[in-house]
Symmetry: C2
Subunit: 215 residues, 2 copies
């Protein structure tokens, strides 16, 4: 088998298992059994378990965050033309959409998106500092840019409050990522099949209003 094929099978298997069992409960043996490759091939292709985890995460996260940053930067660029011109200011909704739309695109394009979306949701809440850092390093520039743009969109709201509200958004988003494909908490009814687009629309309505809430 080609090297690339083997690597891909390991990454795909690890992604599936991490999503359903978590990082810490999934052994290399679980992964190689699921991928139907030899146990030693992980070490050959990735070096260590940690390096494999890293590649599983970055393979998906890097392109999505690049899209997010590109959209956010174009909002900032439009705004910088006329900082005093209210009409050129980004709106709260535009900023949130710039974050959410790459997620939507990813979810509706990539068949394994459900798995990664759950990995993303739990990774941001992982107690293991190394795991959390892996996510945060990628996501931090996106959040910083969002905070700046939100300050422009909501000049009457102090920056610390912007940050706290952004955290509310992040928390709601991560929670929805975790729920995707799993059972609802509420009354045992599975709230899905709501399409990802529907979920995102509701998340957007909720968080837009929350961001603009009076002090």
């Amino acid at each position: 088998m080609s090297a690339e094929e083997t690597k891909k099978r390991i990454l795909d298997a690890a992604e599936r298992l991490f999503a359903s069992q978590g990082f810490h409960n999934t052994s290399l043996r679980d992964i190689t059994r699921e991928a139907r490759v030899n146990i030693a091939s992980v070490n050959y292709h990735f070096g260590t378990r940690e390096a494999l985890v890293r590649e599983v995460v970055l393979r998906r996260l890097v392109p999505v965050n690049r899209d997010r940053l590109r959209l956010l930067e174009s909002l900032r660029h439009a705004a910088s033309r006329g900082p005093d011109d209210i009409s050129s200011r980004p709106t709260v909704r535009e900023i949130l959409v710039a974050f959410l739309e790459p997620s939507i695109k990813f979810i509706s394009t990539e068949p394994a998106a459900n798995d990664f979306v759950r990995i993303m949701g739990q990774g941001m809440a992982d107690p293991d500092e190394n795991i959390r850092k892996l996510f945060m390093e990628q996501v931090r520039p996106v959040f910083n840019t969002m905070a700046e743009l939100l300050s422009m969109a909501l000049p009457s709201i102090p920056r610390p409050v912007i940050h706290m509200r952004l955290h509310c958004f992040i928390g709601a988003f991560a929670h929805w990522m975790r729920l995707m494909g799993s059972d609802s908490l509420l009354s045992g009814t599975n709230m899905f099949p709501n399409s990802p687009e529907e979920v995102m629309k509701e998340l957007l309505n909720f968080c837009e209003a929350g961001m603009e809430a009076p002090l």
Copy 2:
């Protein structure tokens, strides 16, 4: 040493370590070393590791949720007097406060609250089904009651949308629980020392507006 003293030392040590390292990365040896008791005493007092985890969680969660339900039921009782009387309807803010206030009380009363708050935040996102169930079983009746009351407070909003918005609230809340005592994601600046009361006030402002957002 008395049995109760030993049990308490084990529970306290486990709570500290679960908060900082997570459930899955903390071994019984870590716990007994931190508690300064013998490794075999865990089995003697709790039976299995899983039973210990369960007691660590329930010791804190049960009384807080009892308070939440009591406050929510009193809102429902007041409303049931005059279902057509708008003035007797619970407000969104009252419902959210009924959920949040017992958390505040717990946080400002109990010295180890910070640890448990982080445990709570990660437990609701844990990929291990047993862990998640442990939390969900306790929290489910609270969420169901909240959904009912929110439907009364917001009669124009369809029940599925109420559920989705409640999930936004839950996600934001859990995220804040996780952040308590840890570093901020944003620009490396630690957003704390904001008091828990301040955090809750902002969470409340954000989520009240989100709940009442137009369709």
